[in-house]
Subunit: 150 residues, 2 copies
Amino acid sequence: MLGIMSAEESEDVRVAISKKRISDSGLRMTAARRQLIEILAESERPLSVDDLSQRSKGKFDLVTIYRNLEVFREVGIVEVILLENGRNLFVLTGEHDHSHHIVCRHCLKTERIEFCMGGELERYASSRGFSNLSHTIEVFGECPECEAKH
Amino acid sequence: MLGIMSAEESEDVRVAISKKRISDSGLRMTAARRQLIEILAESERPLSVDDLSQRSKGKFDLVTIYRNLEVFREVGIVEVILLENGRNLFVLTGEHDHSHHIVCRHCLKTERIEFCMGGELERYASSRGFSNLSHTIEVFGECPECEAKH
DNA sequence: TTTCCTGCAAAATGTTTGCAAGGCA
DNA sequence: TGCCTTGCAAACATTTTGCAGGAAA
């Protein structure tokens, strides 16, 4: 875990960016928002609504968490990862607006994939007459630690 | 819509393959299964559980539809498309075991994408130590017809 | 002080489970 | 006949909505 800084931004930078984005959008910085952002920033993996509820020790109603995650998504500070089972995980984006992930099925540890082949896909979709495009790409597998446990 | 046969297999071929796969797996060919397979084969787009319920005129309980779709997935005759909102659509696969799609957000019309860049993704995931990989890739947009309606 | 945000309660969705009756092979 | 499937009912899990009180700016 030593070594040069990876491509990941530090916790603090992402928290700062997120808070700024909230107030720049004319929204209020409440205790719930502040704490949810911090929990997301501290986490080593993307979190579900339930994770966030637990890690905030039930201090906020689930409704509040749902509503704020939706707000976060709208202002572009969180990214949603759609799991194979249809559930969502949320991760602070920081600077980059869009990325894809390798997710461990067991522990949900996630790595960002540094390259995005969405361009090629969307170019193809475009050639087929589709417009207003978006795409999802996720890779699922077992991380080294989880594989070792078998 | 005239012209040479596309890469799509005909309805009948996919129905035949599907039925064979069911009985080869030691499962029974019931009225529900037969009809669900036929409805999927006739459909111009992937269907949701609810679509299947309606198109079979409520003849089968939702539970039956859920359970059979799960069976179909297990024996490999349907493929699941995970929408942006987390819902599932189901499509008969026929011969090919795995593909990706361009899905219209409005009418859900879907085109199969003929190429799959999953290999590259999984090679990358593999180099990061992940094993037992799978991936999802979907493109969403507006099809020409739906775009015209705006 | 005004408007946004939160919590509570309830409802709406979507999916799963258990069990007894029915039907395919 | 024997086991697989189905339907019904109920449970479950997740997410959404409405409204009144509370808190940012």
